[in-house]
Symmetry: C2
DNA sequence: TTGACAACTGACCAATTAGTCATTAGTATA
DNA sequence: TATACTAATGACTAATTGGTCAGTTGTCAA
């Protein structure tokens, strides 16, 4: 399975250099030193490759972020830690960053767009939870505007991380952003973003029972070596059509499959689905 | 020449829907109701089309902006007017916006990247000049950070303009951004962006004499109907190899060719070239 | 040495692409 | 009506694409 990782790394390099559409499978296999057939041994299609890349990066960064902003952290360092972690990751994984920040496919391919949109929603809800805790004395109506401010400043300054191989003082950068956000959180009065805007953005993907079942079947075909994951998927699929397991058991099964890289997105969708059903 | 505009409009629609790489010339001609051959009657290549699109939009918006931020405007409304004009244009021309904000070609094709980079530099220098005038009591070391803040806020909030057909209170939006920027301009103390960063970003394109001469020749072949522009180009080309005209005359010639859509970029490069020579 | 099995190869395929060019349609002038 | 001209056509090419699959290689255990 080490070759799968090799393909992912090399293809990411190429995508960062030339973009997704402009990089051919040929180029990828050449850089990896493998044949074209071998590529399709590890990925069903070029699409699946990009899916995996997104999932790997996003789940990785989200996992780190969740630790950094957990409840036991001192509340007035939440934002700093969040920005430091996000930008640090962006800097280290600049290939990913270049790829994500400029990739059209992410917005034009509907499936990928939804996936990205969702990860972005997770980001935003993390930021929102930070704002709620760290700037609790601010006017709650302004929370969303503060989130937009944070997003904007991160976007704007992150450009500096990606040009050249400039050594950036990450600490100073984060402090400078936090200072700005704090000023705005404490003193800004004009509210612009209202919750209805959010409902326009956060179109959470709602997979139907059938779509979800189909997705699981696909994954099952891809994964044959891991019995634990395979059986968990089977049970989850059955539960879709005939709910007979308690929510605790389902929770456990979801944790089982989440261990597998390829199942993370599915687990997320499953959770969303259950939440909607209730 | 009305068909040229038709192609530009329809292709822009398609690019906004599917992206540049994923839109074929076939699709464009189909939507226009013309043949493939006709397309190449008006554009030398698909590349030239995208060039024209960029130039048309950017020169249009820059022209509007220059009026709005001219010296005779009241200085404490400069930023408001700038943002209002920028976002208003973005909202009206949302096809352009969707296209530009998500297009990989703009970053991967070196030629286009340079072109875009340059327009961005013009934007930034407009913002910079606003900051200098409107926030003149702020610490000059912070000017660049303020520019970054403005950029970030515009980026972040402009997302709201592009989703759905939501009617946005543009006035409120602009006031909310201006309020935030003002707070930061007056009170922020941590400087992050230093002028050396800028030198990394602002790699102005420096066409050599030969490149420029070649570019002019290409344009001359494309334009045959307009004598004024054609002759001006010829004189400018001759002046390249054998400078014998005064700078005032050159200035006039540049104004002549600027009237033609296809020459604007060339005029800009010519000016840059002369500036470097001095 | 044999056979079984998985990992791997690369020639091949159908589809699609940007771009060309011999030909035609339409129109205005003589 | 004949001539001259431009505007427009669409079948064509050469190149490239994602993806397949019959066949080869290498590595085990028997």
């Amino acid at each position: 399975m080490v070759k799968r990782q090799l393909i992912m790394e090399k293809s990411l390099e190429l995508f960062a250099e030339n973009g997704f559409e402009s990089t051919s499978v040929q180029q990828i296999t050449e850089r990896c030193g493998i044949s074209k057939g071998a590529f399709y041994l590890y990925f069903k299609s070029k699409e699946e490759l990009i899916h995996s890349l997104i999932d790997q990066f996003m789940t990785g960064i989200l996992k780190e972020l969740e630790q950094v902003v957990s409840d036991d952290q001192p509340k007035d360092e939440l934002l700093y830690n969040f920005i430091y972690t996000s930008l640090g990751e962006l800097q280290q994984q600049s290939n990913y960053a270049k790829f994500f920040l400029t990739e059209q496919v992410l917005t034009f391919n509907k499936d990928l767009f939804q996936r990205m949109q969702n990860y972005m929603n997770m980001f935003n809800s993390i930021i929102f939870s930070i704002v709620k805790r760290q700037f609790d004395q601010a006017n709650p109506n302004m929370y969303l505007d503060i989130v937009f401010t944070i997003n904007g400043l991160i976007k704007s300054y992150s450009e500096l991380l990606l040009i050249g191989n400039y050594k950036v003082d990450l600490n100073l950068l984060c402090r400078s952003i936090v200072e700005k956000v704090t000023l705005i959180a404490e003193q800004a009065t004009i509210q612009f973003v209202t919750p209805d805007y959010l409902s326009h953005i956060n179109q959470t993907p709602t997979y139907s029972k059938e779509q979800l079942s189909e997705l699981i079947t696909t994954i099952q075909q891809e994964i044959q070596d891991d019995e634990l994951v395979g059986e968990s998927l089977q049970l989850l699929k059955e539960h879709l059509h005939e709910p007979k397991l308690s929510s605790v058991l389902i929770e456990g099964l979801l944790k089982n499959i989440k261990e597998n890289e390829q199942c993370k997105w599915c687990a997320y969708l499953y959770k969303k689905y259950l939440h909607k059903e209730k």
